[in-house]
Symmetry: C2
Subunit: 292 residues, 2 copies
DNA sequence: GTCAGCATATCGGAAAATGATATGATCAAC
DNA sequence: GTTGATCATATCATTTTCCGATATGCTGAC
């Protein structure tokens, strides 16, 4: 077994430039540093650094091993961090990223009971329709709706996100109801600028349908409002329209020959496996709400 | 410092169900297992497992710590693996994934000198236009062309991939040369099924241009052939067309008001930081070739 | 109630890490 | 060229830790 203290000497020695300097930084005797490095090399059966009295230089093996040593030490620190009280329980700060629509419709209503259930937890929601770099923005969790992907190693699937075409009753009264996919050309379709096509399922196949659009916006909320106001037909997640549907402000449309492709809701965490409890709890809360 | 041997006892004990079983698996005395676990708990200052005589159960802290312990042990194994002779030098098997076009045009010509320079290395190229799950398919390296992304943490940028519109001289003689973006509507544009739009740069802004396409294919090679045969205008990476341009079979088009967005070439590795030498060498070879 | 399996306490001995000093080697400055 | 400072490491006594074997208290099954 590799001794992490030995690995630490290696890393320090390389960055500090000499074993003596490393020993000073680590607060140990120079010989201890020397012995630890020797022990590591003995354990691995390879010479890691070439030592001339004045300068250290990594051998090829050392070059290959060093990043792993660094990773091990980081892993050790991470393991300890996982035991800090604020990481252990549901306390501290939880930063969640989600799209604007998802934040409003799903996360918003879910927060009061969640916060009540975990009094020591603070939640910060980063609502943005742009992709987020988890690590860079210090986000603990990002929730995205998107096409069904298989690389479940990177993201955890929280549930389905069925989608439909929606329009307002006024619009339908004026323009009629489309029956088939082909009928859509005679209608005003409202699209997201970044998504100029709609994906339909036709007996198992995905059809990439380019949409004739007179109005497009980069915000799905904008589309949503325009749709309610009768501007045309929008393609939205069901959870984004349920309230208006029950209120009679929007009507879901079904075509005879095609259904809108169902998307998935995905939870993305910086490291998919080492998920702290607070994140796990929040993900569970979202998942529960999605199943309602 | 966490002792990895201690962590190993924890992991074994949890999977085996008892310290005694773990000790048998690890080939150590039962008490040694007990002591190591105790030492780990002392080191961390937390109780990790609740021990009743009959069954072990993880405490909350243990629950949080266990995945980190597993990660540490995996890291240790990975660190050792990095020193195996075949991982150290440029030897063994290197599995590379790339698109069909990229494999043919860039990787293919690069391979003979590369293989000659590293005689102990075997290379397996996985040419596919689908995305690949690196870990699942045992791929050491995937090379993808795509939009310029900033999340450099996941992928390493190998170079630019400038792109242009191309057409055959015969097609241009028959149909004329488009001068402006708007002229494209009068032309036959050849698109990839998965990419039904072309991205242009117009004074700093990206324009998502939906393309009127009478012929689309899921293979860029197919498009390429059709384009040479005079079927219309295709949007391709320059490296995919140079040979035909020098041979006079294709002509690059420039529009007055828009240029095709330049893409990047990205190298994606299973773990972005712990890159084995053989992968590093290959990436360097690709990068060098791209700069020619 | 008996017994088997488990976790762990105890303790002598072995092994390993440590501390202080010493040695040879290298580079810089005079 | 010589001196001195710095460095890596050897040596050895000491302390600390680790290990092995036996022993003890406990729990659940038969």
């Amino acid at each position: 077994m590799i001794n992490l203290a030995d690995a630490e000497v290696l890393v320090e020695a390389v960055t500090a430039g000499s074993l003596a300097a490393a020993s000073r930084r680590l607060g140990i005797a120079p010989m201890v540093a020397s012995r630890r490095l020797a022990a590591l090399e003995a354990e691995l059966g390879v010479r890691l650094v070439h030592r001339t009295t004045r300068a250290l230089s990594l051998t090829t093996a050392g070059e290959a091993f060093l990043p792993h040593a660094r990773a091990l030490l980081e892993g050790e620190a991470g393991a300890r961090a996982a035991l800090r009280p604020e990481a252990l329980g549901a306390s501290g700060l939880l930063r969640v990223s989600a799209s604007n629509a998802f934040a409003r419709k799903i996360i918003g209503p879910l927060l009061p009971p969640f916060l009540a259930a975990h009094p020591a937890l603070k939640v910060e929601v980063l609502a943005t329709d742009h992709r987020v770099d988890l690590a860079a923005d210090g986000v603990d969790l990002a929730i995205r709706a998107g096409r069904v992907l298989d690389n479940s190693q990177m993201a955890k699937r929280l549930g389905d996100s069925p989608r439909h075409l929606y329009a307002s009753p006024a619009y339908l009264a004026a323009r009629g109801q489309p029956r088939r996919l082909a009928d859509l050309v005679d209608h005003d379709c409202l699209t997201q600028t970044s998504l100029p096509y709609w994906d339909f399922m036709i007996d198992g196949h995905v059809l990439h349908h380019r949409v004739q659009s007179r109005l497009s916006a980069n915000s799905i909320d904008m589309i949503h409002e325009a749709c309610v106001a009768g501007a045309g037909i929008a393609c939205m997640a069901d959870w984004n329209a349920t309230r208006e549907v029950t209120g009679g402000m929007l009507v879901p449309l079904t075509l005879e020959d095609a259904v809108v492709e169902t998307w998935g809701i995905w939870a993305i965490t910086p490291s998919p496996r080492l998920v702290p409890p607070k994140v796990r709890l929040f993900v569970a809360a979202v998942q529960e709400r999605l199943q309602q």
